[in-house]
Structures are given as C-alpha cells and as structure tokens.
C-alpha cells in the first residue's frame, strides 16, 4: 500500500504546501518545529482538515474527496483519544464493528491485537485507569484494528515519561516493522524520527526544507533547525576547491567543491585555547564566550565572533580555560571532522 500526496491547506497567515510519498512498509517521519504544519498535514491526510488544493492517493486511487470514515487510514492521536466510556477491548473493537463485523467477531480481533501489544490482561480496563504507555499501546492497537492502508502517528511518544518512552519507542519500531502499509510519523523529536523512520521529511513554515534518510540528514543538515536538531554547527558559504569561506572564516575540508556550499561539524570537533595555538593553524579564529551549560558529561560553550559557534569541551578543559562569559578565546576546528557539501 503506497501513498502519494500533495497537501495544500491555506489559512490566514499560514500556508501548508507539501508533497509526501511513502512506499508500502516504509516509515516516513514528518519532522519540524512547532507550528510548522506537521499536524495539519496529518489531518489533511486523514480527512479531518479540508484541503485547499492537492490530492491524496493510496495505491494510485484518489481518496481526498472521501470523508475520513471511508479512507481506511489509521490514526494514533497525540493524546490517544481513547473513548473514556469503553473498555480497552471495546476501544480496539470499535473500528472492526464500524466495518460491519459482529460484536463477538470484532472482540476476537480486538483481543488478538491487545495480545500483540502485550495488554491481553487489560482488556476490561477503562482508559482512565491505564498508564500512559498502556494507553499508547491501546491507541496503536485501535488504529491497526481497521487494517489501515496508511497509518498516521501524531507525536506518538510525546506524552510519555523518559523511561516509558524508551520502552515504547523500541516496541513501536517492532510493530511498525510488522505493518505492511505505509506509515507517516509526525514528531518534533529527532531521536524518535531517526530510530523509527526510514526517511525523514523536514518541514518548516508549511514547506518541505529537506528530505533524506536519517543518516543523510544527520550528516548534511540544510537549515539551522535541522542542524540544531542533529547537534551540528552549520554555516552557508562559498566554496573554491578545498576551502569554504564563511564570512571572515576560511574552512578547509576534505571535499572539493565550488559555488555555494554548506559546512557542518559537531561541537565536539571544536577545540578552545586561551592563546593562539602553535602548529598548523587551519580553521582557526578568535571568538567570545557567550555562556556555558552542561551537556551530557561535557560542557557546552556558546560563542560568538565572526560566526556563532557551539563547542563541547571536557569539564577539566573548561576549568583550565576559565570559561567566563565575555572572555576571548581561540577556536579551532579539526578539518577531518568538517563536512562541506553543495548548498
């Protein structure tokens, strides 16, 4: 079951215009900051928000003129929206019942699905008494119970605490691997997207800004948002041969390029010095410390200068350097960890 869509939704002061594709069995993550239009796109696919233009095709057949109840698109909503007056079993059996199955048959289907998500023992429990992780599983089982052609997940892990999130993320990955239709996953969490999806579509301000596999996107971000998401410093400059010039800074990199180019490197590739270091001073410039914060086991230093910069240093190095805001330091970036690619 493949999906192809061009979604256009016009609102006062907002316009969503994105093309989405997902092959059978493929999981595509729709990634973007709050207000980018991710949920609107999802609602457009499900038929809950009317499109101003475009189309939605499932296996080549247009469905965008159909009401949501006739699209057979399963949705797992952000806060699950399990019917509070029905037991977990009847929540899952709701879809099969609507598809014309008898009560007993629908419950058999539902029981099997609850068993698959590991909640066979909670069939009679009302949603109000389920934990967040359990409710998420019931919501997934409910969406899968209609044997959807397309599965939509709206921030499926956002409402969970850190530990549950870890467990459910791994489970979800397994269930999605078993699902033979296309899946669109909306998230603003890079890790969820990287772990769960085969392909990422990044949208900002209602438009697609980058698509690619998780590893492509993690290595070659093309917007500041994506760079922040994957934890890289990203600059746009002009390349000539083995150098990319960004403002007053000249980066050398392994790749040969000409014309507009991006330069990206992780904060851990940056070394900070109190005095100008000896040796081959490539990728070296003077910067001013804005502030510092804890980042995992290291200290993340925010700097400004010719270009804004994030640098990760060890606590020991931070103590030696006396990192106080306003202090001027030398910043050097290892050329081997600097990636340049065409803009």
């Amino acid at each position: 079951m493949s999906m192809e869509a061009h979604l256009v939704v016009e609102r006062p002061a907002f316009r969503l215009d994105v093309e989405l594709r997902a092959a059978a069995g493929e999981v595509v993550a729709l990634l973007g900051p709050n207000g980018a239009g991710k949920t609107t796109a999802l609602r457009g696919l499900a038929g809950l928000t009317a499109l101003s233009g475009g189309r939605v095709e499932l296996d080549g057949a247009e469905v965008h003129h159909l009401p949501p109840e006739r699209r057979r698109i399963g949705v797992v909503f952000q806060d699950y929206l399990l019917f509070p007056h029905l037991s977990a079993l009847d929540n899952v059996a709701f879809g099969p019942r609507c598809q014309g199955l008898g009560k007993a048959a629908a419950r058999r289907v539902a029981a099997e699905l609850l068993d698959r998500v590991g909640l066979a023992g909670h069939a009679d429990v009302r949603p109000g008494r389920l934990s967040g992780g359990q409710a998420q599983r019931v919501a997934l089982a409910r969406a899968l119970a209609v044997r959807p052609r397309l599965l939509l997940l709206d921030e499926p892990l956002a409402a969970l605490d850190a530990h549950t999130r870890l467990v459910i993320r791994a489970e979800l990955r397994r269930h999605l691997a078993d699902f033979d239709g296309a899946t669109i996953l909306v998230t603003h969490d890079a890790l969820d997207a990287m772990v769960l999806a085969h392909r990422l579509v990044v949208i900002e301000n209602g438009a697609v800004v980058q698509t690619g596999t998780p590893s492509e996107i993690a290595r070659h971000p093309r917007t500041d948002y994506v760079a922040r998401l994957v934890g890289l410093n990203l600059y746009r400059g002009e390349a000539d041969g083995n150098h990319v010039v960004v403002g007053d800074v000249r980066f050398s990199s392994a790749e040969r390029l000409t014309g507009p180019a991006f330069v990206a490197f992780p904060p851990s590739a940056v070394a900070l010095y109190r005095t100008r270091p000896d040796g081959s001073p490539r990728n070296l410039w003077q910067a001013v410390i804005d502030g510092i914060e804890r980042h995992g086991d290291n200290v993340r230093v925010h700097l400004h200068g010719p270009i804004p910069l994030l640098a990760d240093v060890t606590p020991a190095a931070a103590a030696d350097l006396d990192l106080t805001p306003g202090r001027q330091v030398w910043a050097a970036v290892k050329a081997t960890e600097t990636h340049a690619y065409p803009a």
Binding site: P68, E69, R71, L81, L86, C98
Partner: protein, 269 residues
C-alpha cells in the same frame, strides 16, 4: 505551627460579604418549605393521603411528566445537537427561539398552544379533520403543555454538554470508520450522558410542577387533566388543609426523585 490553622482555613476564611447573603438566600428558599411542614394537618394526614382524588392527581402528574420528559428527550437531544454542532444560518435566532418558553409566562404558552393546536387552531383543525384527534382538554394535551414548557431546560443542558465535549473523540471515531450517526450514537451520546441526564431531571421537575400552560390548554378535569399543581390550586379555594397535603406529597416526590438522581448521575458528573 501553621498546620492546624491551615486545616480549618478555607471554612474559617469565608468572607462576610458572601456568607451573609448566602445564608439569607438559603433561608429564603427553605423557610416556605418549613412553613408547609409546620402547618400540615398531621393528625388527619393518613386518611387525606388515601383520598382517591390525591392518588389520582399524583398518578396523573407522574405519568404525564415522565411521558413529557421522554418526548423532550426524543426531540430535544437532536435539536440540541443541531444547535451545537452545525453552522445553520440564523442559528443565533434559533437558539433564542428555543429559549422563549423559558421566559414566556406559561399561561401565554397555553394560549399559544390553543391557537395552534386547538380544534380551530392552525394545526389542530387539520389534526381533527384528518385524524379526528383533538388535543386540548385531554391527558395528551397535558403532556403537550408540559413538554412545551419543559423542553428548553433539556435543550439548554444538552447543548451545553455538547459544546463542552471534546470533538476530537468524534474525529477519532470517524477515522475508525464510524458514520456520523454511529459517531453520535456510540461516542457523542455516551460522552454527554451526564449532561443529558441532568437536563432530563430538570425537564422532569419542570414538567411535574407545570401549572399555567396545563390549565390553559388542557383544563382542569379530575382524573384526566388535573395534575397535582392544579389540584393544589383548586383545593386552596375550598379546603386549605387539603392543599397543604397535596403540596407536601408533591414536595416529597420531587425531593426523593431529584435527590436520588443527583447522587446517582448528576453529582457524579
């Protein structure tokens, strides 16, 4: 030590400007009922209660109020849905019209019903010619009068519940393949059930106490259209003690039913 002070804090700190009028209001509502109890002819109460006239009026009141409530549910819930969930043109005017019976003196309502459903009325004449049905001065007429006056209570309560209900559950149901009717039946209605019940209780109570529209449209025939309020009013002219007894019965029935329903459903909502 702030513990003990805190424990009795909220009660101790009720502000005077709220407490005094609140107590006055309570007294205003409760004292007349106390007066009823104080003046009741307790000695002759058992034999008066056994009078067929009392039992007949009570039975008629309960039956008509219950049927009127059923009619209101059948028509009022869909009407409330229409007002809450659709974007009909002139919906604000409709909503105003629906609440008119709330502010209309019931007698005027009764007159209006006579003009429309009376034997020479707009619809009444047709009903009589086509089916030989005449509503005024019949038990059915009592139900019509009560439903007319009580329905706005139900519609307002249900409309409020529908507006407060989270419509995303209905969207979730739609994605699961539920038609709009199935969504209403299996999701919307169960979710607003507490509001519907609260509305039905109010509606029933209003129907039980209905006087003006009933006496105007249905008249005052013992056993047929003479409900408890009508019997009270009539007895007041001839036998004040009987009026008190009838009032007590009406009061007792209402309190028992309302208290029972409130605790079971309305309070739990």
């Amino acid at each position: 030590m702030t513990g003990p002070v805190r424990a009795r804090g909220p009660r101790a700190r009720t502000p005077w400007p709220l407490l005094v009028p609140a107590l006055a209001g309570l007294a205003f509502l409760v004292l007349p009922l106390a007066g009823l109890l104080a003046r009741a002819p307790w000695a002759t109460l058992p034999e008066r209660l056994a009078e067929p006239r009392v039992l007949e009026a009570l039975r008629l009141s309960l039956v008509t109020a219950t049927i009127a409530t059923a009619v209101c549910l059948l028509l009022g819930v869909p009407l409330a849905w229409l007002l809450a969930r659709t974007t009909l043109p002139g919906r604000r005017l409709l909503r105003a019209l629906v609440t008119v019976p709330l502010v209309l003196p019931p007698v005027v309502g009764g007159v209006a019903l006579l003009l429309v459903l009376g034997r020479r009325g707009l619809a009444g004449q047709w009903l009589y010619d086509a089916f030989g049905v005449s509503l005024p001065f019949t038990t059915t007429g009592v139900v019509v009068a009560e439903a007319f006056v009580a329905m706005p209570f139900l519609v307002i309560a249900v409309e409020g519940a529908l507006r407060a209900a989270d419509q995303r559950y209905e969207e979730a149901a739609a994605t699961l393949g539920a038609s709009r009717w199935t969504v209403f039946r299996r999701v919307t209605l169960p979710m607003v059930a507490p509001g519907v019940l609260a509305g039905a209780v109010l509606c029933w109570a209003r129907a039980l106490g209905e006087f003006g529209a009933t006496i105007t449209f249905a008249g005052n025939f013992p056993g047929r259209t003479q409900t408890m309020p009508l019997a009270v009013y009539l007895a007041l002219e001839t036998d004040p003690d009987a009026a008190i007894v009838l009032s007590l019965v009406l009061l007792a029935v209402s309190v028992i039913v309302l208290a029972g329903l409130r605790d079971r459903w309305v309070g739990a909502a």
